[in-house]
């Protein structure tokens, strides 16, 4: 069933660490008996949030740090992804589908975060950084359902 748990990971802002963070999520969620579909949704949202920090927050600079915190309380997952980069001037505009400041990007990062998580909150201050908080209720696992009869 999985007890309540919390983990924090601080990673250097290099692209290879995006997959490392996803692996951490897989390991962290293993005790909670989630389906592959739910796990994929969380991994996509997390991947987008961490990539945003590196690409936009730090403008691809590789000597910075991204802090990822994952917490489960009563099967309620909270993920916080934080950078100390350039920040977002207009959060509402940044969250619009297909909006991107870069031509080679599709502007789908926040769309995926919103689609695959239950709730997303973005706090940002230009010049100081951005924190994204995402929440998702983990569906009851098969074991829990059979325990309930």
């Amino acid at each position: 069933m999985g007890n309540d748990n919390r983990v924090e990971l601080r990673v250097k802002s290099i692209g290879e660490n995006v997959s490392l963070v996803r692996m951490m999520a897989s390991g962290f969620l293993y005790p909670y008996d989630v389906t592959f579909d739910v796990l994929d949704e969380i991994k996509i949202a997390l991947s987008e949030a961490v990539s945003n920090c590196m690409i936009h927050g730090y403008d691809n600079a590789e000597d910075q740090e991204v802090v990822v915190t994952m917490e489960v309380q009563n099967r309620h997952l909270t993920i916080q992804v934080q950078d100390t980069g350039v920040g977002i001037v207009d959060i509402a505009r940044a969250m619009e589908p297909a909006f991107s400041t870069r031509e080679e990007h599709m502007g789908l990062g926040f769309v995926f975060m919103q689609t695959f998580m239950d709730h997303i909150e973005v706090c940002s201050e230009p010049g100081k950084g951005t924190t994204v908080i995402m929440r998702k209720q983990l569906p009851a696992g098969e074991q829990q359902m059979s325990d309930a009869g």
Binding site: G2, I14, G15, E16, V18, S19, R22, S26, L29, Y30, P31, Y32, D33, V34, T35, F36, D37, V38, L39, D40, K43, I44, S47, E48, S51, M54, I55, E104, H105, M106, L108, G109, V111, F112, T115, G141, E142, Q143
Partner: protein
Amino acid sequence: MEKDTLTLYPQGDLDMASAKKVKESLDSILCSRGGLKQLIINLGDVHFIDSSGLGMLIGCYKTMYGRQGKMMICDASDNVYRVLELSGMKKLMPVMRQESQKTARGESYGKR
């Protein structure tokens, strides 16, 4: 006819780090194959894709479109197909999913 068509088989995850590497290889291939008319990307061995991977695919599409060529995606697993569908990729090019899944998606991942 065969020389007009190229099928590529990327492997693993298509995210920020890997998409950049795949794009560099693809750009080099596309540059050396000026007569290429059809590009097929087989995603059968891609297990994860995010918007960085999608951006790479769109970059390929733009290159092929620019030379009046065509592009299609095939063999996408259910989870990859769902992301491609959500992104609107199907409006730009044919996208086909894997006929049989290697993993049952509704199955439990975690500890029993």
